[in-house]
Symmetry: C2
Subunit: 504 residues, 2 copies
């Protein structure tokens, strides 16, 4: 038979004709086993309507792959085929994985520093608006986007979705045993476009903002839906699984053991092991991210100086999905200033975590980036792009914070390092000079002064280090000698940072 | 005998001649009992050097007072006299007490909202600088100042004090059994000047910044010194006792039970029951302010949104002595921007606490307000004065925060009320409109928009209240109706506040 040629980390797809009667979604088991490179990978298939049964597979290594299907239906069982995986497309680095405990990297080892934004329901808007969202994303500089499978019913979100996620039944009610293939085909098309733009799709599986009944699906319906997502979307390299936005607001219908089960279903049905997490609404209701199926910590919390504590609580990468959003809408999570959101990105990054962006400016037609996409009107995104570019110049392993939330002076200012580079961010602090955290040996260092708001980088003026007057307490004498080899002059205004590069 | 006439809350002082030989400070017991208004008050006396023994008494009620002395020395025992207490001087309202659990009022019931500053060692500077400090205080708008009895040895604080607090012994060593009356007379002269300016003197009894040996005084020497302060200074209406700055940095020589004992000695020797507290250095080392001898909570902590938690922890008035200082010196506690310190004052006030000011700009001669006084160079003090004036227009009982650190939306924006007035401070939030927390009935209200940085107050534009789209979760429907009778238009920039006054 003829053989497909598929770049590594691209999607191989094969369709079979099978039974259309009854409810194949419920009744037909269908999967394939791929073998290649000495490995065997079980890949779930899915029903795409009208008698079409699809297997998708993302090869993770070059070479020959062979598959054979299994099914409860004889017409779909024992079908075989193969593909030849060729080198990845330029710019494709494979799925993002946890790397170096608190950080991320693509499958090919390329460091990945998440700088995400949020457009919860962008795929449910009119097509022209979706096109505009993609255009904006093309220039904005984000490399991750949080987006929901379900449409959203919420303040500023009252329109009907472009496509119903589940089909309407004969009784005029939504039938949660009948996925709407049109909706899923559209959703995965957009995920694929994001992939080709180098943007990770952080896919939100459940959320509580609902007037269509998705919140009230039965446990079995939920479990099938999660497995279906894994089968349809798992082959997209840029997929992250976000089990829920604000899962705790759903606990009345979906108890905790059900959340654990969703994770387990993903583990069973996603052969690629995409990243998996979940986040809270109430700040006291973090999910227990130490559970083994959680790859990284997601939280929502504005109190970003605590980032080292959250990291330490779970020992995993820390993504703060919502440190509040830039904007001016009335909800208090959606109206901080651009300067404040920029500040929170810097504080989070320089304390070893990753922050998420959102923009929520009032709009006459409620076309607000955070939910619907469209245009960006704010000022933070430019500074976030600047920060991303800056960090990507040097950071490879990932940033380790200097000190923690109780260590001097890093409880107040933020600092982090990675190999040969170190950053210090002063935020609301505006010293005229600084010494602590600078190199202790007078070697070859390049020290730059960064204005995080003006987005300028210039060589810092080196001066003598601070020699603090000793503090004495009876026989105990502290200080009296500098804690670095040199100091720098700073401009006595807030939101400045330093970059210290060790030269070889 | 002739009788003194003393305004209520002023100092009655009477001096007796007694033995000068030996060490009267150690050897002579001397006190008096005052009777008047059907009450009996034991008042400790003190030795002022050169054979002078002094009793000071602050009458707290008009009318006739009689006293009789007691002493271990016959020449000082059984001496009698009296005074007639007349109405208080204009503007004198008596010592500040705890009022309404979380707040303060003068003895005559006048509300007292602390707006303090910090000049730790101002009384130890050259006299001309002290005069300048008083001149600055005359215009600055602070009504409390933190100041140490001991001089200070610390970065930026290297000069010798104007007067040694204890005398030099014959052996050329400082003799902690010999107070230097010159130093104490000077100190209390300055305390009296502050009193006459309407400024409370928050007197710091111990601190760890020492090269003179004060940190290493014995427990007995400490106890005598505390009792001596009570006897000398208790009659000044404006005295507050601050047991220590950063007591936890002194625990190596002064264990916890000793700190408790200092409080108890003050209770025994200060017949007026001046306010008493103590504050931490390390944020994890708050003193247990629930102990009964602590009148109010003092802390140092930059994380001011936690103010309601700290209040709740101890159930007493909360004074945050150091939410970091405006300035540009290198230590990270002393270089936040004016806008940030102003912000922290508003957040603290509108979460039911009281913040303290300090200013720490680099100066060629290290004349920095926070330690030495002199001039103010910053911008925060003007906004703090504006805040004080604003609150004093309406606040009588004291501000009660709206919600706590976990209640929506008051975990993010700050709000507080007192009787007919309510304030909302948005800080880093910049909504274009606001409804939550505004009156629920469309009555007679005056609503003003306050720019906390520009210091402007103007009528707010009333608009229709937000009618949020309902959030549905299956059968549960939230929202859908406004939570106030009207909304206000806001300018979409940070650091704005609202004042809502109910009109009768």
């Amino acid at each position: 038979m003829s053989q497909a040629t598929i770049p590594v980390w691209d999607v191989f797809e094969v369709t079979f004709e099978g039974p259309a009667e009854g409810n194949p979604y419920l009744e037909v088991e269908f999967s394939a086993v791929f073998t290649g490179n000495g490995r065997t990978v079980r890949v779930p298939g899915f029903y795409d309507g009208e008698g079409r049964y699809i297997i998708r597979f993302m090869p993770d290594a070059e070479g020959q792959w062979h598959f054979e299907t299994t099914s409860s239906v004889s017409a779909l069982a024992g079908r075989t085929g193969g593909l030849r995986a060729v080198p990845a497309r330029p710019g494709a680095h494979g799925p993002v994985r946890v790397a170096n405990q608190f950080h991320f990297a693509h499958a090919d080892g390329t460091p990945y520093l998440p700088f995400g934004t949020t457009c919860y329901a962008w795929t449910h808007q009119p097509q022209s608006l979706q096109d505009e969202t993609l255009e904006t994303l093309g220039k904005a500089g984000f490399n991750k986007i949080r987006m929901g499978v379900f449409p959203k019913d919420y303040p500023f979100n009252t329109n009907e979705p472009l496509h119903d996620v589940f089909a309407m039944g004969a009784d005029g009610k939504r039938d949660f045993d009948q996925p709407n293939p049109v909706a899923f085909r559209h959703f995965e098309t957009q995920v694929g476009k994001l992939r080709d733009m180098g943007i990770e799709a952080d896919i939100i599986i459940f959320h509580p903002y609902d007037r269509w009944g998705y919140c009230d699906m039965s446990a079995e319906q939920d479990f099938r839906y999660v497995a279906y997502l894994a089968a349809r979307l798992g082959a997209f390299a840029n997929v992250w699984w976000s089990l829920a936005n604000e899962y705790d607001f759903l606990l009345d219908t979906k108890p905790m053991e059900q959340w654990d089960r969703y994770f387990q279903i993903l583990e069973q049905n996603d052969p690629y092991g995409h990243l998996k997490s979940i986040h809270n609404g109430d700040v006291r209701m973090n999910y227990d991210h130490s559970k083994p199926w959680v790859s990284h910590v997601c939280i929502q919390n504005w109190d970003v100086k605590k980032t080292p504590d959250w990291r330490a609580d779970y020992g995993k990468p820390l993504v703060n999905d919502e440190p509040e959003y830039e904007g001016n809408i009335w909800p208090a999570w959606g109206n901080i200033s651009a300067q404040e959101l920029t500040h929170r990105f810097w504080v989070t990054a320089l304390r070893g975590g990753y922050a998420g962006h959102g923009e929520t400016f009032e709009h006459p037609d409620d076309i607000i980036w955070w939910a619907k996409g469209g245009k960006l009107y704010g000022e933070a995104w430019k500074r976030i792009k600047f920060l991303r570019q800056l960090l990507e110049e040097d950071v490879t392993t990932g940033l380790t914070p200097l000190g923690g939330t109780t260590s001097w002076p890093w409880s107040r200012v933020s600092g982090a390092e990675d190999g040969h580079v170190r950053y210090i961010y002063f935020g609301e602090h505006q010293p005229a000079q600084w010494t602590t955290g600078l190199p202790t040996e007078d070697g070859a260092y390049e020290v730059d002064l960064i204005d995080t708001w003006a987005m300028t980088i210039e060589p810092a003026e080196r001066i003598a280090p601070v020699v603090p007057h000793p503090t004495r307490h009876g026989a105990v004498v502290r200080g009296g000698k500098p804690d670095a080899a040199f100091g720098v002059r700073l401009p006595s205004r807030p939101h400045m940072a330093l970059r210290i590069r060790k030269l070889d």
